[in-house]
Amino acid sequence: MAEPTKETRKLEKIRILGELERGLDDVDKVLATGKTDIELDFSACTFISVDGLEWLEEFLLRADSLKSSVKFVNVQSPVYKVFKVAHIDSLMRACGSPSQDAQGLVC
């Protein structure tokens, strides 16, 4: 089966609602089709657990192997801080932010 070209790929927008306590099967299924890029909208995500974080990391890994692009959008500050403190590069990349701390002068 030919891989979908960039033009034929669909962009699926999915909202994460409430507390992300564990993996979301519906989202996994969308990814499994291998034909879509995904935009996860965190505007209504109020909490993220360790399992939720681990699922997101793994989800991004799977997306990468399927050559699907995943973007996180509208990440609210408390959840964005969780991503920052978790020090997981793939999460930060999905948010479109630099993954490494800038090294500046020490004063």
Partner: protein, 871 residues
């Protein structure tokens, strides 16, 4: 791959796994509310209380140290007592508010903590650190002592399960499993990049390793607790407390007593009481045997096999013939204490003692112990004399100095006193630590300070009684004074002013006069006048003259009232005009009446006084320099020649313009400055036309005083800094020197500054708008231009203002450049570096609306030389 590198890889993977769990949990923990955290802490505490006995027994069985019953108590202190101390404390969000400082503190978790647990407190330390980490939303990876790993890890498991059930993040507590590679795994964790803090409680080697890891570390130091029993102590109570403390968990607590220092007066009673309560007092021969047993002869350190062992076991092994049960062994440390083998930390029920003959000797002996390996840790004193306690506390270097209580349980905090409960004793720099705290939750939070902008209080002060109309010199007739000392100049005397004053003073008032005050006096002149006043002993000083006379009189009164003052100490520069470091006297004893005979300085209403000091001028500023009475009588200015009228009016004009744009200006000073400007522009031309017209003299005189009030509260600016330097260097009258720079400084201050002034009371640079407002206030207008911005219109108004100043100066024959002052160009240019240095350090510059850089000062000097065209 070799076997060892395979093992290393496995250990690294294990360490990575532990840290990853902790890292994710730390991230998730950042979302927790205070309520959620407190719920977890409560559940963990309950679990610890429920399992206190089981864990204590397990710890004792595994380590063979201490006393199970005491370990139960430690577990309870680490849970129940800790809970009481922290349950109501905020550790999430805003933790503290400082309303007076307009500041709050907000908590930020530290992140992933790698925590060590010692063999002496294997379960209580884990309980304590787990609860503290939960309260502060940190995650923790425990590494136990190999000899206590099963009990420590079991304690961690109990804490974790309780926390998880209450909603804590998965992986919040983890631990290194017991294995022969435990030490190596701990080393890997210590240097792991994802570990944020090492919380090290344990042996010296582990603490040292923690500090060497390059990570932030909360460590502890070794102890060697001296306890002084002063003759004022309640001896029987002291004996019981010491036994409780030293036998607690068989002496494994590091704050516990190591050597007693006993006043001879109570030594017999104390030792007898120890004996009566079941302690054994060793003979010198027995001390040798005990020393040989418990001290490792090679290292001079403690024999670790005996840590936490019972007294009878130690006695037996030492070969002491003791058949009855004993609580502890008391060893007299005879000879040179500093070199005695037993003058070290003994974590077992063996206690040294020395007898002393004075408080001084007692403190010195305690210091010998304190500095023999226990600096910064713990000390104790039994004493009812507060002075002795204070002397002891002052001398001893210990993070906790326990008074009239058992040192060990006292050091734990929360039981015998209100110290923070801890199992981790900060020893400060004496013990190689960053804190002397009983380490607890406050040490596990990154406190973020959130200071709001300072609410800057600006006040307004001026001379209390001001008489303002022509003829108001008559007020002198009713002046309350027995003896007046008049300070004036020869010209005032010549112009008849002195006679006008003396004629009006009350009949019974004794009057002395100093009429030799020259222009710009120095401190030697001040001292001369003060000396003259000492003979006269006046209750009132009357300053009659121009600004120099008035300024000098202010300083004369100050040094007359307070002869102990030193001029060099009160003439200190400042950054904040309203909060200077120098404290002047609050109350003046001698009344000061200021009668200006020129319309310029406004000194009669300012807290300033300027003195000449060689080639510079020094300024004194304080409310105590304000005169008590000012008499603004324009009749006294009628005989002023036109040049002095012009000079002094330009001084007042500069005051008004600089006060208006000062960083300390306010609505109060703005009103005064604007009205002073209006009066000067109205009355100076008329006065010059008709010098005897009292109406315009009156307006000009009032203008100078109003401008004085403005600068008295808003101060001046760069123009004055330049003028002070120039005037002092070339003997130029102050008003003239001011005028020479005025066009340049208005232009300079009206431009967007190259550097803004950083002072909280000046939130917005508005100098350009204020000059424009001044222009409008004195009636200047500009034709409207369609589409012109307010800023551009403002700049045209500033231009108009500069034109008005130019025109006024020409009318008053005031020089507007240095060349017009008759200073040769070469001489002047050569002096600019020195002038710049002096002007740059002048106090006046501090309140300029534009932060004046040194090269800009030099440029202002240079630009001021060439005669100016009309702007």
């Amino acid at each position: 791959m070799t076997v060892s590198s395979e093992q290393e890889l496995m250990l690294t993977q294990r360490a990575n796994h532990l840290v990853r769990q902790a890292r994710l949990a730390a991230a998730v923990f950042t979302q927790y509310s205070q309520e959620k955290v407190d719920k977890i802490v409560r559940a963990m505490t309950a679990a610890a209380i429920e399992n206190a006995g089981k864990l204590a027994l397990m710890a004792h069985q595994e380590t063979r140290m201490g006393v199970t019953e005491d370990k139960i108590l430690k577990n309870l202190v680490a849970s129940e007592f800790l809970y009481h101390q922290i349950k109501d404390k905020r550790s999430v969000g805003v933790t503290r508010e400082f309303p007076d400082l307009n500041m709050v503190e907000v908590a930020e978790p530290m992140g992933v903590i790698f925590a060590l647990a010692p063999v002496t407190n294997p379960t209580s330390t884990v309980i304590f650190k787990s609860i503290c980490c939960a309260k502060t939303r940190n995650t923790v990876i425990f590494s136990a002592h190999l000899m206590a790993a099963e009990s420590s890890n079991y304690a961690a498991k109990i804490m974790y399960e309780a926390a998880l059930a209450a909603g804590a993040p998965k992986g919040f507590i983890t631990w290194v499993d017991k294995s022969s590679r435990l030490r190596r795994t701990s080393e890997l964790l210590m240097s792991h990049p994802e570990v944020d803090l090492i919380f090290a409680t344990g042996g010296t080697q582990m603490v040292k390793a923690a500090y060497s890891s390059g990570k932030p570390a909360l460590g502890v130091g070794p102890g060697n607790t001296p306890v002084y029993v002063h003759k004022s102590a309640n001896v029987l109570s002291a004996a019981m407390d010491i036994i409780i403390s030293k036998t607690f968990d068989n002496g494994t607590e590091c704050p516990s007593e190591q050597t007693l220092v006993i006043d001879r007066e109570v030594s017999e009673q104390l030792l007898n009481e120890f004996k009566r309560l079941g302690c054994h007092l060793c003979t010198q021969e027995e001390v040798e045997k005990v020393s040989d047993l418990i001290i490792d002869s090679r290292s001079g350190g403690i024999n670790y096999k005996l840590v936490g062992q019972p007294a009878n076991l130690i006695a037996d092994q030492a070969g002491l013939n003791i058949t009855q049960p004993i609580k502890m062994l008391l060893c007299p440390l005879n000879g040179e204490l500093r070199h005695h083998k037993l003058a070290i930390e003994k974590l077992m029920p063996v206690l040294g003692y020395v007898i002393v003959d004075s408080v001084n000797e007692g403190i010195n002996k305690a210091l010998d112990i304190n500095y023999a390996g226990g600096t910064g840790h713990t000390a104790g004193i039994f004493c009812e004399d507060d002075d002795v306690i204070e002397r002891f506390s002052d001398a001893i270097n210990a993070g906790r100095i326990i008074v009239n209580s058992p040192a060990s349980i006292g050091g734990l905090g929360g039981v015998y006193n209100h110290l923070n409960t801890t199992l981790s004793f900060g020893c400060g720099t004496g013990g190689g630590n960053i804190t002397t705290d009983n380490v607890g939750i406050k040490n596990l939070i990154n406190f973020k300070r959130v200071p709001r902008r300072r609410n800057y209080v600006i006040s307004f002060q001026t001379t209390k009684n001001i008489y303002i109309n022509p003829g108001s010199i008559d007020h002198l007739k009713s002046l309350k004074c027995q003896s007046a000392f008049i300070i004036t100049s020869r010209s005032a005397s010549r112009r008849g002013h002195l006679a006008q004053v003396t004629e009006r003073l009350p009949q019974d008032c004794h009057v002395d006069v100093f009429s030799d005050m020259g222009p710009e006096p120095d401190f030697a002149m001040i001292q001369r006048v003060v000396a003259a006043m000492r003979h006269s002993q006046p209750d009132t000083v009357i300053a009659l003259g121009g600004g120099s006379v008035l300024d000098a009189a202010k300083i004369v009164r100050l040094f007359y009232d307070y002869p102990e003052l030193k001029i060099s100490e009160i003439a200190v520069n400042f950054l904040d005009f309203h909060h200077r470091m120098i404290e002047f006297p609050k109350d003046m004893k001698t009344q000061l009446v200021a009668i200006p005979t020129t319309s310029g300085t406004g000194s009669e209403v300012t807290p300033f006084a300027v003195l000449k000091d060689g080639h510079r001028k020094i300024s004194l500023i304080d409310e105590c320099l304000l005169p008590d009475v000012a008499i603004i009588d324009a009749h006294l200015t009628r005989s002023l020649p036109p040049d002095i009228t012009g000079d002094t009016a330009f001084d007042a004009l500069t005051h008004a313009l600089e006060a208006l744009v000062s960083t300390f200006s306010s609505d109060y000073t703005d009103g005064l400055a604007l009205e002073a400007l209006r009066l000067i522009f109205e009355s100076l031309p008329e006065t010059l036309k008709n010098p005897n017209n009292v109406l315009y003299r009156h307006k000009l005189h009032n203008a100078a005083t109003l401008a004085g009030m403005a600068i008295g509260n808003a101060s001046v600016g760069v123009n004055h800094a330049l003028a002070h330097a120039l005037g002092a260097r070339f003997d130029i009258p102050h008003g003239r020197a001011n005028g020479a720079f005025l066009l340049s400084t208005i232009e300079y201050n009206a431009q967007i500054p190259s550097k803004f002034v950083s002072i909280p009371c000046y939130p917005l640079w508005v100098a350009d708008r204020k000059y424009a407002r001044a222009a409008q206030f004195i009636g200047l207008t500009v034709e409207p231009i369609e589409g012109e911005t307010e800023e551009a219109k403002g700049l045209r108004l500033v231009h108009k203002l500069r034109q008005a100043v130019y025109d006024l100066a020409k009318l008053a024959k005031q020089p507007l450049s240095i060349a017009e002052l008759g200073i040769p160009l070469e001489t002047y240019m050569a002096a600019i570096p020195e002038l710049t240095e002096i002007a740059f350090s002048d106090m006046s510059i501090r309140t300029n609306p534009r932060y004046t850089l040194a090269p800009e000062v030099a440029q202002l000097f240079a630009n001021a030389y060439t005669p100016r065209e009309r702007p």
